[in-house]
């Protein structure tokens, strides 16, 4: 079982590489046929280089990164905290369940303009948009995990006369962290969407602003280059999340 894992990983890497090359090839061909709608990969890379040289890309990345990190950290703290709270307070859970599911099914991105105009288009308002897009998967997964603490283990803790502190340290937290991490990974993906959405409106800023500007100018090279860059960053951040999740779940039986 263990011996085949590196093999499987290699296979997965080869498949992704082939997929990527195939995608680039198709992109190049389409780009040559229709240079206005689809710039070639070469021209996209060039566009990114130009933006980097003139300094607008680095500063945009910094602005967007700040926004993303602020929103995400707030979402993680609030999401995990509230999720844990829900698991220990039954009344709170039954009274807010519907609210959370309702909120989760509303596309926060669509509400971004309203939120921004209500809270003033600055960094706080934009962070709020990122926060709101990212927080729900984190709350839901954390609460779900905390709610599923095995009753036998709760009884074990009770027979050993565990204090509330030990109950959290030995049982509730270790059991819930992997679930919370799953939520955080989903939250990261949502935060990217939220960041771009927050940057699109009125005083466009950051990478979202660059994307919007390029797209109004029909500058497909820049749009495609930036889109790809954002995807790469998102995938990178999510793999980081996955690695952290694995670390906290290393006691689990090998799962595929």
């Amino acid at each position: 079982m263990h011996a085949s894992r590196p093999g499987k990983r290699l296979l997965a890497a080869v498949v992704s590489a082939v997929g990527l090359l195939f995608g680039l090839g198709v992109w190049q061909i389409v780009g040559q046929r229709d240079p206005v709608l689809f710039a070639t990969p070469g021209r996209s890379a060039e566009a990114l280089l130009v933006l980097t040289e003139e300094g607008s890309l680095p500063s945009a990345l910094l602005a967007s990164g700040t926004l993303l990190v602020i929103g995400l950290i707030l979402a993680i703290v609030a999401g995990v905290g509230f999720g844990l709270l829900l698991s220990r307070a039954k009344l709170l859970r039954t009274s807010t369940d519907w609210l959370i599911f309702a909120a989760q099914s509303v596309p926060i991105v669509a509400l971004a303009p309203i939120i921004l105009s209500a809270f003033g288009f600055g960094l706080p308002a934009k962070s709020l948009v990122v926060f709101l897009t990212a927080v729900f998967p984190i709350v839901v997964n954390t609460a779900e995990g905390a709610h599923r603490v095995p009753t036998t283990l709760l009884e074990v803790a009770r027979t050993y006369r565990s204090s509330e502190w030990h109950l959290w340290k030995d049982l509730l937290l270790p059991h819930t962290v992997p679930y919370a991490m799953t939520g955080i990974r989903q939250g990261i993906a949502m935060a990217f969407v939220g960041t771009l959405a927050a940057e699109f409106f009125l005083n466009a800023s950051g990478v979202g602003g660059l994307l919007l500007a390029a797209s109004t100018n029909f500058d497909s090279a820049t749009v495609l280059g930036l889109t790809l860059l954002v995807s790469v960053l998102a995938v990178g951040l999510m793999s980081l999340g996955r690695a952290v999740e694995r670390y906290f779940a290393r006691w689990r039986a090998v799962e595929e």
């Binding site: 009884e155 027979t159 050993y160 006369r161 030990h166 030995d170 270790p174 059991h175 689990r252 039986a253």
Partner: protein, 247 residues
């Protein structure tokens, strides 16, 4: 330990009624009965995890409302923390009662030796066989030097062979470290093997059909399985349980 007229209910449903039992220090009381007759429920009441509908559980004269100090339980499905290693699981019993980490680990290693798990201190439960997991569960319960050990079908989740190995190993451990024990099982052999006294549960709701004294000498080992007394008691318990099944 004393059960004084215990009736256990879940909602409208009465699981067992009017159970009177006494267990004196240093003795082993086996409770045997078919699956679903309320053995676990009874044990959970003794541990103070649930409250009886009627009656009182007393341990050393004190009515039980939560698990008293010095009462440890071994669970049918082991109840190990999957994120803790073997030694951390064993040390847990001491850590929660405030023993410093170093002392707790030292005592944990002692018990790991006692139950024959040397070399697996750093393993996680999912890396162990069922038998080894229950050895860990046993080590954890013994770590607190309990004055009362509650066993809930401790070998019930194991395959037949492992089960036998662990039964005799438990007998050996018990000889070296005698502890007052309430031993719940649905295996008649196990009840006769461990019990100084056997309470046979039957009926629905269940009650105590009979209390049988086992005069087989302690310490016991495999050889008692072939004695006439073992076979006679076994037959008697079997008949009692079967009578209960018919009505």
């Amino acid at each position: 330990m004393e059960l004084d007229g215990l009736t256990m209910r879940f909602g409208e449903r009465t699981v067992s009624r009017d159970i009177h039992l006494t267990l004196d220090p240093g003795r082993v009381l086996a409770i045997v009965g078919p699956s679903g007759c309320g053995k676990t429920t009874l044990l959970r009441a003794v541990a103070g995890l649930i409250q009886p509908a009627v009656g009182t559980v007393r341990i050393d004269g004190q009515a039980v409302t939560r698990t008293p100090e010095g009462v440890a339980m071994v669970f049918q499905h082991f109840g190990l923390f999957p994120w803790k290693t073997v030694e951390a699981n064993v040390a847990y019993a001491l850590r929660v009662s405030g023993v410093p980490k170093k002392a707790a680990l030292e005592r944990a290693r002692e018990l790991i030796r006692l139950v024959g798990l040397v070399g697996f201190e750093k393993s996680y439960p999912h890396q162990l066989s069922g038998g080894m997991q229950q050895r860990t569960g046993l080590a954890r319960a013994l770590a607190v030097r309990p004055r009362l050990l509650l066993m809930d079908e401790p070998f019930g989740a194991l395959d037949a062979q492992t089960r036998e190995v662990l039964q005799f190993e438990m007998l050996r451990i018990w000889q070296d470290h005698p502890v007052t024990m309430l031993f719940v099982t649905h295996s008649i052999d196990e009840a006769v093997l461990f019990g100084d006294q056997i309470a046979v549960l039957n009926g629905r709701p269940s009650g105590i059909a009979e209390l049988i004294d086992v005069s087989l000498p302690q310490p016991r080992d495999r050889s008692v399985l072939a004695t006439a007394e073992f076979l006679a008691i076994r037959e008697r318990v079997w008949n009692l349980i079967m009578t209960g099944q018919r009505d």
